[in-house]
Symmetry: C2
Subunit: 309 residues, 2 copies
Amino acid sequence: MPLGEEKNGASDRSIYVNNPHLDSMTDDILYHFNLGTSTHDLPAMFGDVKFVCVGGSPWRMKSFIEYIARELGLSEPNAEYPNICAGTDRYAMYKIGPVLSVSHGMGIPSISIMLHELIKLLYHSRCTDVTVVRIGTSGGIGLKPGTVVVTKQSVDSVFQPRLEQIILGKPVVRSTELDGELAEELLQCGKDLAEFETVIGNTMCTLDFYEGQARLDGAFCSYSEEDKQSYLAQAYAAGVRNIEMESSVFAAMCKLSNLRAAVVCVALLDRLKGDQLTSSHDVLNNYQQRPQVLVGHYIKKKLNASKKR
Amino acid sequence: MPLGEEKNGASDRSIYVNNPHLDSMTDDILYHFNLGTSTHDLPAMFGDVKFVCVGGSPWRMKSFIEYIARELGLSEPNAEYPNICAGTDRYAMYKIGPVLSVSHGMGIPSISIMLHELIKLLYHSRCTDVTVVRIGTSGGIGLKPGTVVVTKQSVDSVFQPRLEQIILGKPVVRSTELDGELAEELLQCGKDLAEFETVIGNTMCTLDFYEGQARLDGAFCSYSEEDKQSYLAQAYAAGVRNIEMESSVFAAMCKLSNLRAAVVCVALLDRLKGDQLTSSHDVLNNYQQRPQVLVGHYIKKKLNASKKR
């Protein structure tokens, strides 16, 4: 199937599921969320969601909801944010006002399960006009550690903006195009804040952390430091500024379901200078908060603008 | 690179890392475990490990260590099993006597990060003669729900026993061969127990849970019920009895590092009859304990045999 053939020609901002079978199901169990259409009133629980932030670590997604609650003036003293997916340890989910925060684990398959169920959740909840942002960590290429990268294009291991999805044993190629306007708005938020460096660039999405990212410190390594540097230099020349493990399927699935989507990741290290994460726990922790701060600023700006209208 | 070219010709049971760069590192940080060679005395902590059980869910891997402690007579009243990876939420790790229990999240990339760091941990700890078993959940094909499948071969979406690993942008094909003798021993343990059905068969390993496994209930579905049934029938004809998302890279990486490895998964449902997990929480919970019980029996048998020697 050629790139983009599955694209929706939608002009409104409804959430699409592209699955004729769903309408004939009397009940839909979102197994990995421990939620379902017959056990939960999804429109009442989630109908007001306008922003979904997703990230690998459950702890980080809990800290994000606490942060955004404070930023939006929605936090109350001693407020607890219960995990909506409490009956499972596959993912964690938190909500405050129009903001949903969901963890997705590590890697394309893990985030893909979460996104299938999130897209169905938003669809069943009859949400409209939803923006989804992945806030994550990554390895930078030629960047100062702590720099935040807003993804222009998510590219594969040969620097192409595509994802190969296997369906019934056959490859289907999907576009990993993200929302250009949203990326520019997020870049502007980084400039407004002026608390840390924010850049826009391509993000390479890989299937593993060690050999797939040309690291020299895995259990296996069949290449030299020179091979590594040459590969990373090719990536840099193709506009790649950071490497992570979820953006391609995130971009492809959001595009197929008409979700406005962006990827904002902090670079924890410069891969041209090393492979191991040697910075202190406190420094890494501070870096990991930067995408949260940037996206928090964006959400506040959007909500204030819509109040004024 | 042809299949098997990376294979070790080892006759002893040392753990191999295949990475000449590791020896020149003064310190090795196992980032996703929050452990390291300069911060932890790994040989003292892990040198006695002979069995490693891995599974997706952190809760399940905690319940496994509690179970195996009781089975081996190593549990003490009110004993707590602290999470060895306490400073991170990426993976959870527990230990009792010679048994290590580690969670790996969902999907090939997530388990691959864990295995790189586990193999290095066993290597730095100078462990020998280690057996690693993945205990997991899966979808069955033509099996009664609750049946336990010991994997003969882990196969890809076109039913071949191989894994394509991308290194520096180029595909390298690796064998997913498992230890045949160990699989037979585990099958025998299932027969000894006679508490549930245990079979041996091929396991298909996919990159996603919905489209990659021919489910009709994802956010996207471009095929019919007939297409699905035809694909699953082809899989069955190729010896596939269950489908999960980690076995191929698990098999490939264990083989490369000289670890005796097996995959034991319970089938939570029969995919020929449906896609959704409609069984009650209690029933599914009971099913998930079966691989634990089987592998617990195997470990006890092996430890008793070595005591007698």
